[in-house]
């Protein structure tokens, strides 16, 4: 009896150990699976078609043939990308004159507003709309065509807003400001293969539209993720001393 009971208890201990080991293995397996899934999901980001300019006048502005207003929804929300809308909230230019809206009336969810005129003065605006914002900007195009940073921090601000290790998707109202921004970044050394001119908000018909203008004609600018460039806190460059 004693022999039997001692072998029973040994069996019980062995069985418990077995269960403990099995549970340990299961927990380990679950952990490995979770970690693999997280890693796998991170790598699952789809490939983005290489920047290719559209045909026609859209191509003249540099709007992309594959990643544009019709397809951008497929590329939203990526951890490896930043999304920038280059319009002003309120443009001093009279865009009503050419059938437009001087107010930013809406945007695509995920896009953050960094107005191009705060980076550099836009060129080639139609005469009919008059002048856009002409205040301080990070860069100036000199008479000889070269780019001059107006502040010590100019390049760093661009590096922060348009990180070079990310894909950069640019948008505006019709594709013009986005095209100018891409050209500027490329001129400053950014990789053109990582920047897409998505085109104009007007053409967007996807599922991520956020309206700023309501039915009564009021504008809800608080919905916009807006990057303020506080020029008063920047250090102006003095070229004579350089």
């Amino acid at each position: 009896m004693t022999k039997n009971s001692s072998s029973d208890s040994a069996l019980k201990v062995g069985f418990r150990s077995l269960i403990a080991v099995a549970l340990g293995v299961i927990v380990m397996l679950v952990l490995v699976l979770c970690i693999t899934k997280v890693l796998f999901d991170a790598e699952k980001l789809s490939e983005i078609p290489a920047p290719t300019v559209s045909e026609g006048m859209r191509g003249e502005l540099g709007i992309d043939k594959n990643v544009n207003e019709k397809t951008i929804d497929m590329f939203l929300g990526r951890s490896d990308s930043v999304y920038r809308d280059m319009r002003l909230l309120v443009d001093p230019a009279n865009y009503e004159e050419i059938g437009g809206d001087k107010y930013l009336s809406g945007f695509v969810d995920g896009f953050e507003v960094v107005p191009l005129p705060y980076i550099i003065k836009p060129e080639g605006l139609p005469e009919a709309v008059g002048k856009s914002y002409e205040g301080k900007a990070l860069y100036t195009r000199l008479a000889d065509g070269t780019l001059a940073p107006n502040y010590i921090e100019s390049k760093q601000i661009l590096e922060d807003l348009f990180p070079q290790d990310k894909n950069i998707f640019l948008m505006c109202g019709g594709g013009g400001y986005a095209g100018m921004m891409k050209s500027l970044l490329v001129e400053l050394g950014w990789d053109s293969e990582k920047i897409w001119n998505v085109g104009g908000f007007w053409y967007y018909e996807g599922n991520n539209k956020i309206d700023i203008k309501d039915e009564d004609g009021n504008y809800a600018f608080w919905k916009v993720n807006y990057h303020l460039i506080d020029f008063d806190n920047l250090t102006e460059r003095r070229y004579a001393e350089d």
């Binding site: 026609g56 006048m57 859209r58 080639g124 605006l125 019709g174 400001y177 104009g200 053409y203």
Partner: protein
């Protein structure tokens, strides 16, 4: 001797005549290319004969939003009534040649004393036009309620028609008689 002389002078005359003809042919070809090329028409499948009400006007465009409280309904009704007309739809473009396109269209109407209907892009997505034309600005030619041609903003072939007054004029005159 006099016979030989006359033969020689005949030969000279023939050579001069041939040389003159060759020079004239070359000049003619060059003139045809330079002058004729400018007025050369683009081949189109169908043209529109502009209705009298849109010819010999003051050259002002007819703003649908001003003549109608519901410009989209008015435009769609014009299609249903099988009317023939020209429609210009603008889209604000902030730079480049497309930004100047509106001025070419306005100047053309003024100089040629013709009138187009005009609508801004705000309305167009709700209209029948948007089923066919997706990119703007564009000029759309409607014959008996059917779009027979329009400027394609997303086509390489139409780029030259957007980029200058002459380019637009050439395209329009190839599509519309007035």
């Amino acid at each position: 001797m006099p016979k030989t002389n006359s033969k020689t002078s005949n030969k000279k005359l023939i050579i001069i005549a041939i040389a003159t003809l060759v020079v004239l042919a070359v000049f003619g070809f060059v003139f045809y290319k330079v002058l004729g090329g400018a007025s050369q028409k683009i081949e189109v499948e169908e043209t529109l004969l502009l209705d009298a009400e849109y010819k010999n006007t003051d050259g002002q465009q007819i703003e649908l939003a001003e003549v109608s409280e519901d410009p989209v309904a008015t435009l769609d009704q014009m299609f249903e009534d099988k009317k023939s007309f020209v429609l210009y739809v603008s889209l604000p473009i902030c730079n480049g040649d497309a930004a100047k396109f509106k001025q070419y269209v306005l100047d053309f109407q003024h100089r040629e004393k013709v009138s187009f209907y005009y609508l801004t892009s705000d309305y167009i997505k709700d209209s029948l036009v948007y089923e066919t034309v997706k990119y703007f600005p564009s000029v759309i030619i409607v014959k008996e309620g059917k779009i027979i041609n329009y400027l394609k903003y997303d086509s390489d072939e139409d780029v030259e028609f957007y980029k200058s007054y002459d380019g637009f004029s050439k395209w329009f005159k190839s599509n519309v008689e007035y």
